[in-house]
């Protein structure tokens, strides 16, 4: 069955190519965001090192 072309909020009907490229951009943004989360997580762990165990409760 043929996929119905996506329609933007402005009523513009996207071509298959536009939909495909938009999807690839969205995936790229998701990967970059996931990479940023990983970077901040790793930086935090490396900078804290063993000091996290010295925290007083």
């Amino acid at each position: 069955m043929r996929e119905v072309p996506a329609v933007t909020e402005n009523g513009v009907r996207l071509t298959d190519e536009q939909v495909r490229r938009r999807r690839s951009r969205s995936i790229a943004i998701a990967l970059v965001l996931a990479g940023l989360v990983a970077i901040f997580y790793v930086i935090t762990i490396v900078k804290l090192g063993g000091n996290v165990a010295l925290r007083s409760f």
Binding site: T8, V12, R22, R25, I43, K47
Partner: protein
């Protein structure tokens, strides 16, 4: 002077143009990946030569931030220079002049990455390195691209400082400061830039003339450019010896740098002997290629030399 219509990127676009056909590869191309690879390599050399150490993960993040910062300045350059890029055969297929990425998208992409890379470098290492990275981006995007490039044939001489700063940023990421050693690396890249880009300007002078960019061959003539290339090549070869002279590289590096420097001087001499109206400018093309190889090999030699010293292979 040519100016860029900044407003075109901000105004409402017709519905047919508002739907972007840009692929992730187009945004990656905005970062000038080939320049970015040289930046990563020279920054890595600055980090390796720096005294003390850096956690490998933090070092990797620092290199990534420096690379993205350099890429961001490339995106800002492509945003501002879209009008002249469209008139040059070498650059007309770049994402903005080719119409794959809107000017405003390139601008916001560059600004977001500039801010993000500076913050990440500051958090991961220190704010001296982050400040230097921000200054590098500012120097390339504003001082070189917006101010010098269209105004003076000394554009790439002064603007070359931006490309020369990455090893200083890398050194600062490890030490939190600046010393004479990274400034020597800065000097090598700074003196490398004019002969490299003037060689390109010699065989692309029609392109630059069409775009109205006052490169040296178009303003001072081919003969004067060839002389300047020779002078800077000799200075470059001498600066390549400084790491050994100043004691932070071994004599083996010095021998290698002397051989490479001699090669660059000989290539520059071929350029000097080339006829001014040579249609192919083969010697200039050769120098353009060999200068890239020179810079890569000089920094590779420095890396190998320091690695050999640290494992005790050489004193």
């Amino acid at each position: 002077m040519t100016s860029v219509d900044i407003s075109r990127g901000f105004g409402p676009a017709p519905a047919s143009e508002a739907i972007s056909l840009a692929a992730p590869a187009d945004y990656f191309a905005l970062l000038k990946p080939r320049v970015m690879s040289l930046v990563v390599f020279t920054a890595l050399t600055g980090m390796v030569l720096a005294p003390g150490g850096i956690h490998p993960v933090i070092g990797f993040v620092a290199l990534l931030a420096i690379a993205v910062g350099a890429g961001a300045s490339g995106a800002l350059n492509m945003w501002y220079d879209a009008d002249i890029d469209a008139r040059m055969s070498r650059t007309r297929e770049r994402p903005v002049p080719a119409g794959r990425v809107a000017a405003a998208e390139a601008l916001s992409f560059g600004l977001v990455l500039s801010l993000g890379s500076t913050i990440v470098l500051g958090i991961a290492t220190n704010w001296v390195a982050a400040g230097l990275l921000a200054f590098t981006i500012f120097f390339y995007a504003v001082i070189y691209t917006m101010w010098l490039k269209r105004r003076t044939p000394q554009n790439i001489v002064i603007g070359g400082a931006a490309g020369a700063l990455p090893p200083v940023v890398g050194w600062a990421a490890v030490t939190g400061g600046i010393a004479i050693e990274p400034l020597v690396l800065f000097l090598i890249i700074f003196l490398w830039t004019p002969p490299h880009f003037w060689a390109l300007a010699l065989f692309r002078s029609d392109d630059y003339a069409r775009a109205g960019v006052p490169m040296l061959p178009n303003v001072a003539g081919v003969a004067a450019t060839k002389r300047q290339i020779c002078i800077y090549s000799v200075l470059l070869a001498i600066s390549g010896l400084l790491p050994t002279v100043m004691g932070f590289a071994s004599i083996y590096y010095g021998i290698g740098a002397a051989v490479l420097g001699l090669g660059v001087i000989l290539d520059a001499r071929w350029v000097l002997r080339m006829r001014d109206d040579d249609p192919k400018m083969a010697s200039a093309r050769r120098l353009f290629g060999s200068s890239i190889l020179y810079l890569f090999l000089i920094f590779a030699l420095l890396l190998i030399d320091r690695s050999a010293q640290s494992v005790g292979l050489i004193g």
